[in-house]
Symmetry: C2
Subunit: 479 residues, 2 copies
Amino acid sequence: MRAMLSVAIATLLSGAVLSGSAFAADAAKRETRIPDQAMATAAKLRETALASDLGYRITESLTTEVGPRLAGSEADARAVAWAQAKFKELGFDKVWIEPVTFPKWERRSESAQVLGASTQPLRLTALGGSPAGTVEAEVVRFADLAALEAAAPGSLAGKIAFIDYRMERARDGAGYGPGGKVRSRGPSAAIRGGAAGYLMRSAGTDSHRMPHTGITRFDEGLTPIPSAALAVPDADQLARLLARGPVKVRMALDCGWDGTYTSHNVIGEIRGSKKPDEVVLIGGHLDSWDLGTGAIDDGAGVGLTMAAARLIGDLKQRPARTIRVVAFANEEQGLHGGKAYAAKHQPNLKQHQIGAESDFGAGRIYAYSSSAPEHAKAADAQIAQALAPLGIEYTPGKGGAGPDIGPFAEKGLAWARLAQDGTDYFDLHHTPDDTFDKIDPQALAQNVAAYAVFAYLAASAEGDFGSQPAAASTTPVGK
Amino acid sequence: MRAMLSVAIATLLSGAVLSGSAFAADAAKRETRIPDQAMATAAKLRETALASDLGYRITESLTTEVGPRLAGSEADARAVAWAQAKFKELGFDKVWIEPVTFPKWERRSESAQVLGASTQPLRLTALGGSPAGTVEAEVVRFADLAALEAAAPGSLAGKIAFIDYRMERARDGAGYGPGGKVRSRGPSAAIRGGAAGYLMRSAGTDSHRMPHTGITRFDEGLTPIPSAALAVPDADQLARLLARGPVKVRMALDCGWDGTYTSHNVIGEIRGSKKPDEVVLIGGHLDSWDLGTGAIDDGAGVGLTMAAARLIGDLKQRPARTIRVVAFANEEQGLHGGKAYAAKHQPNLKQHQIGAESDFGAGRIYAYSSSAPEHAKAADAQIAQALAPLGIEYTPGKGGAGPDIGPFAEKGLAWARLAQDGTDYFDLHHTPDDTFDKIDPQALAQNVAAYAVFAYLAASAEGDFGSQPAAASTTPVGK
């Protein structure tokens, strides 16, 4: 997951233009409902999914056989091949790929050490997008991003700026808002201050020597500087050393952009029985950062949505609409797969019933919400009712679209949110520790069950969930 | 901590030669007792120590200012200088060093990767004592040491032997017995099988990508092979890959022995009031592995024993005997400091009242025992009584001497064991994650209190705890 999408679509996409009795009449005419038979089938599907280890096995396959799969690396192509083969092996009715082109960033080596009387190594990792470079300089500590942004221009000349901000743990990942900004905005602030290098305490909630990488950006017109995140204990150590006096650090990063690369969104479909050209879109992203094997981010999202669709395909009676699973390319470095999908499929936006991406690990899903407009709220509540036995609360109006769904949701796609418990997510996120052993098979099965129930019911609904091209003035989906 | 010393001295050192009424008369004559006044002072000392953060601050100082301190590295000398300066700063009455010479082993670089269709890096670390070398070979998995030892000679020609044994978690560290043997004996077994390289699942109980290093040995007459430990998740990954078919791995270690080095045991004393030439010996080891900053192993041991002695020195009335704190050199690679101390001080063995080393982290102490012979059992029970309010159980006859005390205990030194809760110890032991943030200040203060109470009371006792040169036939203290 690159970024939390925390702002809900605030306006109902169509209802807002109707009023009074005209609205009531219209609503009655086009009210979306889910047939009782589908609700009964969903209850059985839920139990089947809970008892299945399919999602767990698919996640194991991806993270083991492909391993780390940085976008643009040799493993990117292996991941694309894996996803195509897996869709076919699982009996999906249609499998295809769509090209996604993006700039390629490489990590080659990275190291750092405290110099002088307390010389010792520090564990860090380059931020995605950082240039290469070796900087040997005194470190200036800032408590948070605001403190660095307040530094006078040029005041950090020849120094390494270090933001020592400690990210907070939260079930919904709320701490990643401020934590992620330290990563995305810190380097540019450091450059404005004149710094030669940038260090940050990792945007993570663990206490292991596992630095958290992630993409950063440099504002237009600035000359990028080597930028890296220290593991949390190493940030602690640096802060303790700084409390004792001046500290000089040598950071050496060999990494950088190198041309462009074309990867692919990999798409598989379980075809619908009556309206096969209308789709419920679910998925995760296929790329990962290079440090771990991308289990929680986002092998699980790919595995659990593939499994959910497959279990729907196993039903005696298929739902009316098609279940489309997308394994998105290069989410991590800028939602490239999500943007490419939105651009390509915009002409068919209305044929997309609703979309949901799993990209927040595989902790138990605890809440459900969607962008359902007034005429689909009853159906939305039906979905919530079918999810309730999984311990999922109905929280209408909360949250937003998953990252790769975001660009399409901005164009008007209806979205659902199946909120995963992310209490421990940022212990592992973007670190070497994001590995398959961290996946709880029971929690993953609960995720598969929730996605299966959601997708099946949305695909079975009589009526729509409000997807339609957004007016230019529509409030954009937040990032 | 290099090795668990789990075998108690089974024989009482002197009582065994006495019998019947002769014994009773002798016992009455020389029964060791602790004066009531000392018991009262110990109770106050205990509360003072619990409220003090001195041990925590000393541990912080060592792990921060010196950092990792592999025996023989440049940091070894910095650690020796730190310990001397710290003893002086703390006002110890006498501070000196004693040379300890040992072979020097260096780690320069290490990496590994799976080759072929699932190519991906594996995180490992060379075992201490491993030679350098690059091996590219198929991996043969063994469930445990016995399975590898049963391999036919030559059957592993050109292969990498991999022991996939999972160490068990236990409060007393019992799982390290079999786990540690995989490290100490596995490489020789692999060589006998003809292997070109040796890999093991780390002897650790964590699930992080933190390989656990530690010393290994190669049996006489064998040609050492590159030997390393995989992080636990990487061992999981390798096992999953092997379950799918043959796996070829490239392991590249640059490390090895390089001449000898002379470090020092650093010794500080709080002088006794009446029998200053008799000493109660406490301490920890100053060296650490290079991956972490040696907080639980064994900065805490050094910090808490220094603090305990210093708090005893702060008392209005000093105990009769001297409290001697030893920061032992190079425990990790073969108890070099402990052996040097025993060799040098053997002539004065009887002047050592009793010894105790803290080298099992800084978890709460939950049990007390010692080698006290019959005539000192009442005093031993008094010590246990003074420790009880700290939640410490009296477990006479259990356990053995700490590692660096071991060589001297084999020669006849009386020893005590203040058993630390090691439930989490092997999550961190010998990994990069052994850092100061893992120390719980409250638990460390409890340790300081326990060591202070023990050392103060042993130094105040009227009578001895049984130190005397061991007969040649005495059962050796187990390793």
